[in-house]
C-alpha cells in the first residue's frame, strides 16, 4: 500500500569522498529497523604480503612504504621494528630519537591534512576544502602551514616527503647534522601557535553528542606517549605484548570488503587512532596539551567518536612539542646505522600510524629472505567498529532527507580518517529504506 512515508529506504553512496582510497556504504532500513549495513572496501587488493615473499628483509621497508602516500613512515617503522626484533638489532638511542622525530613529522602532516582538507568541511557546511578556503581562508592557510612543517621533517630525515627512502634496518642511510635539525626549529615553534589555534577551532565545531560502548585500543608505554614502542592496551582491560597481538585479536573475511575485518577475540570490534591513544595515554600527553583540551571544554577520556578531530588536533600540538624536544636534545649517533646479521624466525612489531596501530610480521630464513609477511593496517582493524558506529546511528537518519542521511553517515566514517588504500585488502553510500 502506498504511503506518504516509505517504510523502506535505501541509502547508497557509490563513492565516498574525502577519504583516502575507494569505498562505498550500503544501508537498508526496513520498518524503521536497520536490516543491512555494508561498509564496502572495493579498492582492489594489492597483494603486498605476497610480493614481499622472496625479497630480502633489507628491501621490505622500501616496498611497504609504497603502500601509502600519507603514512609511509608508519609502514617503514613497523617493518623495521619487526625485522630488527627478529635479527636482534639494538639501535642507537640517538637513532631511536630520530625515528620518533620522523614519526612526529608524519603525524603532523597527516593529521593537518585530515583535519583541514577532509574532515572540517563536514562540520562547517562546506562541500570541500575549496569552499572552506573561500569561507575561512585563514584556517586553511593555517592547516597548510602546519602540514608543511611536518613535510619538512620527513624531507630532512627521509630524503623526500612522499615515499621517503632513508630509513633502513639498524637506523638510517644518512642522519642529519645538528644544524640541519636546528633549521627546522623556528618553523615548528611558529606553527605551534597555529596548532594551538586549531585545537580551539575544532573544539568549537558543532560536534554531536554521542556516547558509544567502545573498546579503545592503542599502544601504551611506561614513560612516553606511544609511537614506536609499548604494550597493547585497551579501555576494557586488555594488556599484551606486541608479539602476542595475534593471540588476542583475530581477522576474518566478510564478503562485502576487500579488507579483512578484525575483532578482539571473544569480544568484538575495537577502535584505533588518535581518540584511542588520547583516551588511554592522557597521563603521557603532558599538562601543556591536556590543559588545551580542558580549556577547549572537551573532556577526555571520551566515548564520543566525534571527539576524534579534537584528539587529532591535540596530537599535532603534542607532536610539535615532542619534535622540538627531540631537536633540542639531539646528538648524532656514532653511525647512521648499526650492522646486523640475518636470523631465521618470525619478527612481529606494532607502531602507532596516524590512524592507529599498524601490525607487521615477517618470517625470514637464515639469509634474511622473507618467506611470509603479514600486514594488518589500522583501517582494516577499524572497519567493524565503523559498522558498529553506523548501526547505532541508523535510528537518527530515518527521519532525514537522503542528502542529510548520507552526510551524517559520511561524517561518522570520516571520524576514523579511514585510509582505504592501506586497508585493501573504502566509500559509496547506499541506504535502502523499505
Amino acid at each position: 500500500m502506498p504511503s506518504s512515508k516509505a517504510k523502506t529506504r535505501t541509502i547508497h553512496v557509490g563513492a565516498l569522498t574525502r577519504v583516502e582510497g575507494e569505498g562505498a556504504l550500503h544501508l537498508i532500513v526496513e520498518d524503521g529497523k536497520l536490516v543491512d549495513l555494508r561498509f564496502e572496501i572495493f579498492e582492489p587488493p594489492r597483494f603486498f604480503e605476497a610480493l614481499l615473499r622472496g625479497r630480502h628483509a633489507s628491501e621490505a621497508a622500501d616496498i611497504t612504504a609504497r603502500i601509502c602516500g600519507i603514512c609511509p613512515v608508519a609502514y617503514q617503522m613497523s617493518t623495521l621494528h619487526a625485522i630488527e626484533r627478529l635479527f636482534r638489532v639494538e639501535i642507537d638511542p640517538a637513532v631511536r630519537a630520530l625515528r620518533r622525530l620522523y614519526y612526529c613529522g608524519e603525524w603532523i602532516e597527516s593529521h593537518a591534512l585530515h583535519i583541514h582538507m577532509l574532515a572540517a568541511p563536514d562540520f562547517l557546511g562546506c562541500e570541500s576544502v575549496v569552499t572552506l578556503a573561500e569561507k575561512q581562508r585563514p584556517a586553511v592557510e593555517r592547516g597548510l602551514r602546519i602540514k608543511k612543517a611536518g613535510n619538512n621533517i620527513l624531507t630532512l630525515l627521509g630524503g623526500r616527503s612522499v615515499h621517503p627512502v632513508a630509513a633502513c634496518i639498524g637506523g638510517f642511510t644518512r642522519v642529519p647534522r645538528p644544524a640541519e635539525l636546528t633549521a627546522l626549529r623556528d618553523e615548528l615553534a611558529r606553527v605551534r601557535e597555529d596548532a594551538v589555534a586549531c585545537v580551539s577551532w575544532v573544539a568549537g565545531f558543532d560536534l554531536p553528542d554521542r556516547h558509544l560502548d567502545i573498546e579503545f585500543v592503542s599502544l601504551r608505554h611506561p614513560d612516553e606517549y606511544p609511537m614506536n614502542d609499548g604494550r597493547v592496551a585497551s579501555s576494557k582491560g586488555l594488556d599484551c605484548a606486541q608479539e602476542e597481538f595475534e593471540d588476542y585479536f583475530e581477522e576474518h573475511q566478510v564478503p562485502h570488503s576487500n579488507a579483512l575485518h578484525a575483532k578482539v577475540k571473544g569480544r568484538g570490534p575495537y577502535f584505533l587512532g588518535p581518540l584511542a591513544r588520547v583516551n588511554l595515554n592522557l597521563d603521557r600527553l603532558g599538562a601543556g596539551v591536556t590543559n588545551l583540551a580542558r580549556d577547549a571544554g572537551i573532556r577526555f577520556p571520551s566515548a564520543n567518536p566525534y571527539h576524534s578531530i579534537v584528539a587529532r588536533a591535540l596530537e599535532i600540538v603534542y607532536a610539535i612539542d615532542e619534535a622540538l624536544r627531540l631537536i633540542d636534545s639531539y646528538a648524532p649517533p656514532a653511525a647512521p646505522a648499526v650492522s646486523y646479521t640475518p636470523r631465521p624466525g618470525t619478527g612481529r612489531a606494532i607502531t602507532e600510524a596516524p590512524r592507529g596501530m599498524l601490525y607487521h610480521a615477517y618470517e625470514t630464513d637464515d639469509r634474511g629472505l622473507i618467506h611470509a609477511a603479514r600486514i594488518i593496517p589500522p583501517t582494516s582493524q577499524n572497519q567493524a567498529q565503523i559498522e558498529a558506529d553506523l548501526r547505532e546511528l541508523a535510528p537518527a537518519i530515518l527521519g532525514r532527507s537522503q542528502a542529510e542521511a548520507t552526510h551524517l553517515c559520511e561524517t561518522v566514517i570520516r571520524n576514523y580518517d579511514p585510509c582505504i588504500s592501506c586497508a585493501t585488502h573504502f566509500l559509496k553510500l547506499d541506504i535502502v529504506h523499505r
Binding site: 569522498t17 583516502e20 575507494e22 602516500g69 582538507m117 577532509l118 576544502v129 581562508r137
Partner: protein, 153 residues
C-alpha cells in the same frame, strides 16, 4: 621567475609530463626553473606559490589522438562542480582551484596536456610510441612558452 612543473607517475603514458620535465631539467630554458614533481597531490599548492608564472605539464585524456598537445590556460580549468574524491585524488584541477581560493595562483599559468593512453591500454614499463614521440614536441613547446612569457615580463 617561471616554474615549469612536470607531473605524473613513472608508469606507462602517465610518465609523459615527467619525461618532458626531466628532459627540460637537463638544460633548463633561461629564466625558468624545472621541477619534476611526480604526483605532488596537495603539495602542488606550494609549487604554485611564489612565482610569476607556471607551466604545468601533465598527461591528459580527452579522446583526442594519442600524442596530441593541449594548451590550456589555468584560469580556464573548471571553476565549479568538483568534489574532492580523496586526498589521493587531489588532482591538478583541484589543487589549482584550491590555490585560487587561497589567492596563491601565479599571475599567469598554462597547462600543457599530452594526450595519453588509458592506464590499462598502456604498458607499465614504457610509453606508447605515439605518446613518446610527443615528448620532443612538448619540450619545444615549453621552450616557446618560456620565451614568450619572459619577453612579456
Amino acid at each position: 621567475m617561471i616554474r615549469v612543473i612536470g607531473i605524473g607517475s613513472p608508469f606507462g603514458d602517465d610518465a609523459a609530463g615527467l619525461v618532458v620535465a626531466q628532459t627540460l631539467a637537463a638544460a633548463p630554458p633561461p629564466g625558468a626553473e624545472v621541477v619534476v614533481a611526480d604526483r605532488p597531490g596537495a603539495d602542488l599548492l606550494e609549487l604554485l606559490d611564489g612565482v610569476e608564472a607556471v607551466i604545468l605539464i601533465d598527461a591528459v585524456q580527452s579522446g583526442a589522438p594519442l600524442g596530441t598537445l593541449h594548451d590550456l590556460d589555468l584560469e580556464a580549468l573548471p571553476q565549479e562542480g568538483f568534489a574532492l574524491v580523496s586526498s589521493h585524488a587531489l588532482g591538478v584541477a583541484e589543487a589549482v582551484q584550491l590555490a585560487r581560493a587561497l589567492g596563491r595562483t601565479p599571475a599567469r599559468g598554462r597547462l600543457l596536456g599530452i594526450e595519453a593512453a588509458p592506464a590499462r591500454a598502456a604498458s607499465v614499463e614504457e610509453m606508447t610510441p605515439t605518446t613518446g614521440a610527443a615528448v620532443e614536441r612538448a619540450v619545444r613547446r615549453v621552450h616557446e612558452w618560456v620565451e614568450r612569457l619572459t619577453s612579456v615580463t
